[in-house]
């Protein structure tokens, strides 16, 4: 093939450009630690990384949801434990009082303490987490349990005369949180689930114990009857505590699952878009070497001319 002068220079230029762009590419890879500078270099990999990143973002979101849920759950647990303690105390006191040797004035003292325990339970039912009431269902703004004209109300409805329909509708007010794809946890226990409704609700039950204790003479049968009802309530509180404990365990399990998944995703992303630094440096060195040789060869070959040998 006949070679013309412009071919020679153009080819030299093309070769220099090619090896120079390789130097630029590999040095960019070394500098950023990433395999690609723009999406179009490898759309498939880029798409995969992006969907993995979306998944990663979702997991981060679930983590923050779980974190928030934990605060609410642990506050609920603390309140329930307090209620449980108050219960124990009421039980102790009322069984003490059943002893016939206890005098009326002693019983009065016991009544005052039981009354205090009841107030303690009410205040626990009205406890807050981050400024929101825990046991009021969708009513998070106002204390759910309130005394109005001597009667206790839940969210404005009198508890002792509440119908089952009203009760069910209150209990169904669940604040649900997504903690993992498709997995929801309901955070709220309604105060009604703890104290029950109707005439035998917990607070009425306590009131009845108090009034029995104030009777002279003490009707131990009647009192025993009420204490039995109290025992049922006690079992119920324990059940709620177990439920909350189970929720905590479930959250823990989900956290460890999500952590594993996140690690796996990070590894996958890194595998696709990160470059092995030794390999990158080696590639850079090779490109540099090629560039050097191209420059040296091109520099020499375009200088050659017959003119140097003509006299």
């Amino acid at each position: 093939m006949r070679i013309s002068s412009s071919m020679m220079t153009r080819q030299a230029m093309e070769n220099i450009e090619k090896s120079y762009s390789k130097v630029a590419n590999t040095s960019n890879q070394v500098a950023t630690g990433k395999r690609y500078a723009s999406a179009s270099e490898s759309p498939v990999d880029f798409h995969m990384v992006n969907s993995l990143k979306l998944e990663q973002g979702e997991i981060t979101k679930y983590f923050s949801n779980i974190e928030n849920a934990r605060v609410s759950v642990s506050d609920t647990e603390i309140a329930l434990k307090d209620i449980n303690e108050s219960f124990q105390r009421i039980k102790e006191l009322s069984s003490n009082a059943m002893n016939a040797s206890v005098s009326l004035s002693d019983r009065e003292a016991i009544c005052i303490e039981i009354e205090q325990c009841k107030q303690q339970i009410i205040s626990n039912l009205n406890s807050q987490s981050a400024g929101r009431f825990l046991f009021g269902g969708f009513n998070s703004k106002f204390p759910p349990i309130k005394e109005n004209a001597g009667l206790l109300e839940y969210n404005g409805t009198v508890i002792s005369t509440m119908t089952d329909l009203e009760k069910d509708s209150f209990i169904s007010e669940k604040v649900v949180v997504n903690v993992s794809k498709g997995i929801k946890v309901d955070l709220k226990i309604s105060a009604l689930e703890i104290i029950g409704t109707g005439d035998n609700n917990l607070l009425n039950n306590i009131d009845k114990i108090i009034s029995e204790l104030r009777n002279e003479p003490l009707s131990s049968d009647e009192l025993k009857n009420q204490v039995d009802i109290l025992d049922d309530h006690f079992d119920n509180v324990l059940l709620q505590l177990t439920k909350i404990g189970a929720t905590t365990n479930r959250l823990d399990a989900i956290v460890s699952q999500l952590t594993q998944k996140q690690t796996a995703i990070s590894e996958k992303i890194s595998g696709i878009e990160d470059i092995d630094i030794e390999e990158a440096i080696l590639n850079y060195k090779l490109a540099e070497q090629a560039y050097n040789s191209t420059l040296s060869i091109s520099g020499k070959s375009i200088q050659l001319s017959l003119m140097d040998y003509l006299r």
């Binding site: 013309s4 071919m7 992006n50 979306l54 998070s140």
Partner: protein, 486 residues
């Protein structure tokens, strides 16, 4: 036979050598001229008066010396045509690649501040809000994220529209250039034709014309044909742009209207017949494809804006439907209401999507509750926010006949389509460039000047000039000898 015949012979030889040296000089001078084809002198022995080169029998007639029969341009028309075809594809791909890269940049598909992330942030804020739905700070966060999303959609669409009208401006400018160059080719045709009527070769004018046609084919793919009578045609898809001395001007007609912005864009028409110019390749093809392309295999600005519009439209529809079903939080003197829009229902395109006036007023108008909020009830109700969460998890959202799937993947897929198009154009351009480089080399191999060769020629013709001069001196001496003997 005259005594002075030898002088005549020597002068012919001197003249030929001189011309050859001048041609060599012309070649050397134009070694770097774009489009220049090297020229060679064609020498021919002169036939003497009686039609014989020499009469060996009588030794009466020897040869009559040398004459330059032609100064010929060395070129291969096959490679010229091939070059034009390949360069016009190459320049189309170059412009396409540039345009796609620019669109990639507009969409910021590889950075962290893009539409996908805005949608993710909006949903994440809603998720946070669902834990504490009466918290005004969290509601404000949702509102801000919604504004960020609409702003980003607006800016992206706005930039795309600007790019589209910039493409249109380029089409207009390019059409002007093509017409100008066509005029130049026509006037060169005339000059070459007249010059060559006398049997001469208009070498340098031909080079100019070839270069000009090469340049035209970068802008719009053309073919050429030269008739036996020396008339030259430049054709776009078989329709002549230049026919010898006449030019068929390309005119512009604003016959494309953007349905959203009502901006008008121009198409190319033949001035003479008022029919559409069928653009096959070249930069013009890239510009019009990018400007008007609206299908998967012809991804242009319209296609991408269409995708963004679908996204915006479905965001408005879906978010409003959910927000309308729920109840807002009471604030100031407003009570809890239902039927409130999230986005402004009147603005369903990417360039104008905006949050509703109610949401503009307060984040309280995010309908988190599924029931009326009053007195004791439903302040913490987040059931309607759950519908938003379900929307996020849903992967079967549709908008009109378009299947959106889920919002984030929909926009991600659009990004991927663009980067595929960019990558495809880039890799096709790379292989096209190597074809162009091959053809250029072939063309150059035939037509390019080699300085070493010219140096050799220079020495060769210098030697022949010296010899001819010596001949002249010898004949002069011969004549002196003859004249002095009397």
């Amino acid at each position: 036979m005259s005594n002075f015949y030898g002088l005549e012979l020597a002068s012919k030889s001197l003249y030929a050598s001189q011309k050859a040296i001048e041609t060599t000089a012309h070649n050397i001078a134009n070694v770097n001229t774009e489009g220049y084809s090297r020229q060679v002198v064609e020498l021919e022995a002169v036939v003497n008066y009686n039609g014989l080169i020499y009469d060996s029998k009588n030794a009466r007639n020897v040869g009559s010396g040398v004459v330059i029969s032609n100064i010929e341009q060395v070129r291969n028309e096959f490679y010229d045509k091939l070059y034009r075809k390949e360069i016009s594809i190459s320049s189309e791909l170059t412009s396409k690649n540039q345009a796609y890269s620019y669109i990639e940049e507009i969409m910021k598909s590889s950075s962290d501040s893009n539409i996908t992330n805005d949608i993710t942030s909006l949903f994440n804020s809603m998720e946070k809000l669902s834990l504490d739905s009466e918290n005004m700070i969290l509601r404000e966060q949702v509102r801000q994220d919604a504004i960020l999303l609409t702003d980003n959609l607006n800016t992206t669409a706005e930039n795309l529209y600007q790019f589209q009208s910039q493409l249109n401006n380029n089409v207009i400018a390019l059409t002007g250039q093509i017409n100008d160059m066509a005029n130049e080719v026509a006037s060169l045709n005339d000059m070459i034709y007249k010059y060559e009527l006398s049997g001469n070769k208009a070498n340098d004018l031909r080079d100019q014309r070839n270069l000009l046609v090469d340049q035209i084919s970068e802008k719009i793919g053309v073919t050429t044909s030269e008739g036996a009578d020396g008339t030259f045609k430049v054709l776009i898809n078989g329709f002549s742009l230049v026919d010898h001395k006449t030019v068929n001007q390309i005119t512009l007609k604003q016959d494309i209207t953007n349905p959203v912005t009502n901006e008008k864009y121009s198409s190319l028409y033949w001035g003479s017949t008022n029919t559409k110019v069928n653009i096959q390749s070249g930069e013009m093809k890239a510009l019009t494809d990018m400007r008007d392309g609206n299908s998967v295999d012809r991804i242009g600005v319209n296609y991408i804006i269409g995708k963004l519009d679908n996204l915006a439209g479905s965001l408005v529809t879906e978010f409003n439907a959910i927000n309308r079903a729920g109840y807002t939080l009471p604030y100031g003197s407003s009570s809890s209401e239902t039927g409130i829009d999230f986005f402004n229902a009147a603005n369903t395109h990417a360039f104008n999507i905006s949050i509703s006036s109610e949401l503009e007023e307060s984040g309280a108008n995010i309908a988190a509750s599924s029931q009326l909020i009053s007195d004791f009830s439903n302040w913490g109700n987040n059931e309607n926010l759950q519908s938003f969460m379900n929307l996020r998890e849903s992967d079967s959202i549709t908008f009109g006949s378009e299947s959106i799937g889920d919002f984030e993947s929909y926009i991600e897929n659009t990004y991927t389509q663009i980067s595929f198009a960019t990558g495809f154009a880039a890799s096709r351009k790379a292989s096209q460039d190597s074809i162009v480089s091959y053809v250029t080399n072939q063309k150059d191999s035939v037509s390019g000047v080699n300085l070493d060769e010219e140096m050799l020629n220079l020495s060769r013709y210098q030697k022949s000039y010296q010899a001819a001069a010596k001949l002249m001196a010898v004949i002069d001496e011969m004549l002196q000898t003859l004249l002095n003997s009397f």
